[in-house]
C-alpha cells in the first residue's frame, strides 16, 4: 500500500466518518432554505456584538415576550461578560420593570412583586395549557435554547463542508428567515384559519402571526428599523440566550489550538529524533549494546 493511497484512504475515512454525522434529511414538505446571513459571532474569532444583543433584547422584551418565555435566563445574565453588556445597575433596573410571582407569604398567599437582578425572566403564561387556551391552540416555544433547537437540512455535501467552514449558525439563519418569511400562500396551498403561510416553516403553515413589521420597534442608535434588521437582531439575541458562553469558548479555543499545534510540532520533532537511529541505522555509529 503506497503512502499516497494510505493518505487517500485516511482522508476518505475521516471525511466520511465525520460526514455521516447526524442530520436527518427529512423529506417533509420541502420548506425554502433560509439564506445565510453574516453574523458577528460566526467563525473562529466570532464574538457577539453587544449593541446588537441590546437591540435584540429590546425586540424580545417589547414583542416576543408577549407570548414566548425565556425561562432559563436570569436578569443577572444581561450583565454577564460576553453578553449584551448591560451594567449590573442597568440589569437590576430592567428586572425592576418586570413583575415576578413569589410566595407563599406569611398568609400563605402567592403574590407579585418587582423583579430583582437574581430573578429569572417571568413567563407570559402560568403554564402551557394557559398559553394554548389564549393563543388558539398554538404553544409558543420557550426561547432559552431556541436558536440551537432549530435547524434546516443542507443535505450532502453541504453538511460536510460545514465542518470545515465552522458553520454553526443554522438556528439564527432559520429564525431570521421565519421572521422574514411571511408571504402570500402560493396557488394551490390553502391556509387554515388561525395559521399563516411562511415559506421557511416546515409544512408552510405556522400558528405565529407575523410578529414584526418595519418601524415597529424604536432603535436609538440609528440602526435601520427594518424587518430584515429586526430579524437579524432578535436572532442574534436568541443565539446568545442559547449559547451565552460563545465568546469565552472561541477565545479559549484559539489559545488551546495554538498550544496543541505547537505541542504536536514539538512531539513530532521529538519522535523524529528518537526514531532516527531505528530508521537510519547506517547513519549511526556502531552501538555499544
Amino acid at each position: 500500500m503506497s503512502r499516497h493511497s494510505k493518505i487517500i484512504t485516511a482522508t476518505v475515512l475521516a471525511v466520511v466518518l465525520f460526514g455521516t454525522a447526524s442530520l436527518s434529511a427529512s423529506a417533509q414538505e420541502a420548506a425554502a432554505t433560509p439564506p445565510k446571513q453574516k453574523w458577528s459571532f460566526a467563525g473562529p474569532f466570532g464574538q457577539y456584538d453587544p449593541q446588537q444583543l441590546q437591540r435584540g433584547f429590546k425586540i424580545y422584551r417589547e414583542v416576543c415576550s408577549t407570548c414566548h418565555s425565556l425561562k432559563l435566563l436570569s436578569f443577572r445574565n444581561l450583565a454577564d461578560p460576553g453578553g449584551p453588556g448591560f451594567t449590573e445597575a442597568q440589569a437590576a433596573a430592567i428586572a425592576a420593570t418586570f413583575q415576578v410571582p413569589d410566595g407563599p407569604n406569611d398568609q400563605g398567599q402567592m403574590f407579585q412583586r418587582a423583579g430583582k437582578i437574581s430573578d429569572y425572566f417571568p413567563s407570559p403564561f402560568p403554564n402551557d395549557q394557559a398559553a394554548r387556551a389564549a393563543l388558539g391552540g398554538g404553544l409558543p416555544p420557550d426561547m432559552s435554547t431556541l436558536a440551537k433547537a432549530r435547524t434546516y437540512e443542507e443535505g450532502f455535501p453541504g453538511f460536510i463542508v460545514d465542518a470545515f467552514t465552522m458553520y454553526q449558525e443554522q438556528g439564527p439563519d432559520y429564525i431570521h428567515a421565519i421572521i422574514n418569511g411571511y408571504t402570500a400562500a402560493p396557488a394551490g396551498v390553502t391556509v387554515t384559519p388561525g395559521t399563516y403561510y411562511n415559506k421557511y416553516f416546515p409544512g408552510g403553515a405556522i400558528k405565529m402571526p407575523p410578529p414584526l413589521r418595519d418601524g415597529q420597534v424604536q432603535y436609538t442608535d440609528g440602526t435601520p428599523q427594518t424587518l430584515d434588521q429586526y430579524g437579524r437582531d432578535v436572532a442574534a439575541f436568541l443565539m446568545w440566550a442559547s449559547e451565552p458562553k460563545l465568546d469565552q469558548r472561541k477565545q479559549l479555543g484559539f489559545q488551546v489550538m495554538i498550544f496543541l499545534i505547537v505541542f504536536a510540532g514539538l512531539l513530532y520533532f521529538t519522535k523524529k529524533k528518537v526514531w532516527h537511529a531505528v530508521e537510519y541505522p547506517e547513519a549511526e555509529q556502531p552501538r555499544a549494546s
Binding site: M1, S2, R3, K6, L13, V16, L17, F18, T20, A21, S22, L23, S24, A25, S26, A27, P44, L72, N77, P141, S144, T145, K148, A149, R150, T151, D162, A163, M166, Y167, Q168, Q170, G171, P244, K245, R249, K250, L252, G253, F254, V256, M257, L260, I261, F263, A264, L267, Y268, T270, K271, V274, W275, V278, E279, Y280, P281, E282, R287, A288, S289
Partner: protein
C-alpha cells in the same frame, strides 16, 4: 534496541516496595521494556488514543455528574445549568458530548486497522473478542449517555431502542417493561440509565486491562503480519511507541478541539435542545451518528424480529472473524483479494451510515438492502472462501527484511512501512 533490560529499582523506596508489591517492575516490563514491532505505522496509535479518550470521558463525566440531576423534570434544566452557571461547565459538557463521538471515531479506526492487518488471527483471538466486548460496552454506554440530557432525541431514541427488545418472541414485551421500570420510558428509566452510564465506564476500564494483558501476552501484530523473530524486529515501548502515540494523540486532539471549540453542536441533533415531550414525536428519529450503520441494517429488513437479529448479528459476527477467516496470511498487504473486498466492506459500512441518517424511502431502502447483503456476505461467504482460493503475495522473512529491504545494509531504501 540494545536488549530489553530488566527493572532495577532506582530509589530506596522502590527497592522496599519491589519486595512487597512489584508494581514498579510490572509497569516497567509492560510500558517501558515491552518490545513492540519496529514497523508499526500510525494506525497503531489508536489504542493509545482510545485509552486517552476513556480517561477524558471518565474525568469530565465525573465532574458533570456532580452537577447533573437524573430526574425527568430537572434533567434538561440541570444540563443547561451546567452550560450556563457551572464554571467551565460548557467546556466540560462539550468535551464529554464530542468526546463520545471521538471515542467512536477512534474505535472504528482501531477496529478497521485490526481487520486490515488481520490482528484477530491466531494467537490474538481472545484479544480480539475482548475488543468486541469493549465495543459493545461502548455502544451501551454511549446510548445511555445520550438519553441523560432528556431532550426530544434522548427520549425518543430511548423509546425506539428499548422497544427493539419487544421483537423477542413471548418475553419481549415483559423485557421492555422490565428495562423501562414502568410502562413507558420515564423517570425510573432515566435513573437506571444514569446509574449504568456511570457504572459501565469502569467495567470498560476493567476489560481494557484484560485487553492490554492479552495484548502483552500475544504481542502486537504489525503491518506485515509476520511475528517478530529477533531483537532486530522490535523496539522498546518507551521511548519509541510512547513518543509516537503521544504525537498522534496531540494531532487527534487538534481535530477534537476543532469540534469542541468551533462546532460543538455539529455532531449532535438540534432536537435535543428541545425538552423531552412524550406526547410529541419528532418528525424523524435518528440515533447518534456512530450507530447509523447498524440502524440502517435494522431498517433494511422488513421484519422487526429479523431486523433486530440482523442488528445484533452485525456486531456479534466480529467476534467470530478469527474462525470465519480461513486464510493463513494476516496482513491485507499480502492478500490482494481480501484487501479489495475489505475496502468495499468499509465503503459499505460508511454507505450504510449515510443511509441510516436518511428516511427509509424509495431508492434508499434498496441501497440499504444491497449494502446490508454485502455486509453479511463479507463475513459469511467472502471471508471463509477467500482463504481457500486466494493467491497471496510472498511474505517477507522477517520484519527487519520488510523494513530495510533484502539487503539489510542497504538501509534507508525500504521505508515503505513507516507511518
Amino acid at each position: 534496541m540494545s536488549g530489553h533490560p530488566t527493572y532495577q529499582p532506582q530509589s530506596a523506596f522502590m527497592r522496599w516496595l519491589e519486595r512487597r508489591l512489584p508494581i514498579g517492575s510490572l509497569i516497567y516490563s509492560s510500558f517501558v521494556a515491552y518490545p513492540t514491532p519496529r514497523n508499526l505505522n500510525y494506525w497503531w496509535t489508536f489504542g493509545g488514543i482510545l485509552t486517552f479518550m476513556l480517561l477524558v470521558q471518565m474525568i469530565t463525566g465525573i465532574v458533570l455528574a456532580m452537577h447533573y440531576t437524573p430526574n425527568v423534570n430537572l434533567a434538561f434544566d440541570s444540563v443547561e445549568g451546567i452550560m450556563r452557571d457551572v464554571n467551565y461547565g460548557w467546556l466540560l459538557r462539550y468535551i464529554h458530548a464530542n468526546g463520545a463521538s471521538f471515542f467512536f471515531v477512534a474505535v472504528y479506526i482501531h477496529i478497521a486497522r485490526g481487520m486490515y492487518y488481520g490482528s484477530y488471527k491466531e494467537p490474538r483471538e481472545v484479544l480480539w473478542i475482548l475488543g468486541v466486548i469493549l465495543f459493545l460496552l461502548m455502544v451501551a454506554t454511549g446510548f445511555m449517555g445520550y438519553v441523560l440530557p432528556w431532550g426530544q432525541m434522548s427520549f425518543w431514541a430511548a423509546t425506539v431502542i428499548t422497544n427493539l427488545f419487544s421483537a423477542i418472541p413471548l418475553v419481549g414485551h415483559g423485557i421492555v417493561t422490565w428495562l423501562w421500570g414502568g410502562f413507558a420510558v420515564g423517570n425510573p428509566t432515566l435513573n437506571r440509565f444514569y446509574s449504568l452510564h456511570y457504572l459501565l465506564p469502569f467495567v470498560i476500564a476493567g476489560v481494557v486491562m484484560l485487553h492490554i494483558w492479552a495484548l502483552h501476552v500475544a504481542g502486537q501484530n504489525n503491518p506485515t503480519g509476520v511475528e517478530p523473530k529477533s531483537e532486530k524486529d522490535t523496539v522498546a515501548f518507551t521511548p519509541y511507541a510512547t513518543v509516537k502515540d503521544a504525537f498522534f494523540v496531540a494531532l487527534f486532539c487538534i481535530v477534537f478541539a476543532w469540534f469542541i471549540f468551533y462546532i460543538p453542536n455539529y455532531l449532535g441533533h438540534s432536537d435535543n435542545y428541545i425538552p423531552a415531550n412524550p406526547s410529541q414525536t419528532p418528525t424523524h428519529i435518528v440515533p447518534e451518528w456512530y450507530y447509523l450503520p447498524f440502524y440502517a441494517i435494522l431498517r433494511a429488513i422488513p421484519s422487526k424480529l429479523l431486523g433486530v437479529t440482523a442488528l445484533a448479528t452485525s456486531i456479534i459476527v466480529l467476534a467470530f472473524m478469527p474462525w470465519l477467516d480461513t486464510s493463513a496470511v494476516r496482513s491485507a498487504n499480502y492478500r490482494p483479494l481480501y484487501r479489495q473486498f475489505l475496502l468495499i466492506y468499509f465503503a459499505a459500512v460508511i454507505g450504510l451510515g449515510y443511509l441510516g441518517s436518511q428516511e427509509p424511502v424509495g431508492g434508499y431502502v434498496i441501497a440499504a438492502r444491497l449494502l446490508t447483503a454485502y455486509y453479511f456476505a463479507f463475513f459469511f461467504i467472502i471471508l471463509p472462501l477467500l482463504g481457500l482460493f486466494e493467491k497471496t503475495k510472498p511474505l517477507p522473512n522477517s520484519i527487519s527484511e520488510a523494513v530495510l529491504g533484502k539487503d539489510v545494509s542497504a538501509g534507508a531504501s525500504g521505508k515503505a512501512y513507516k507511518g
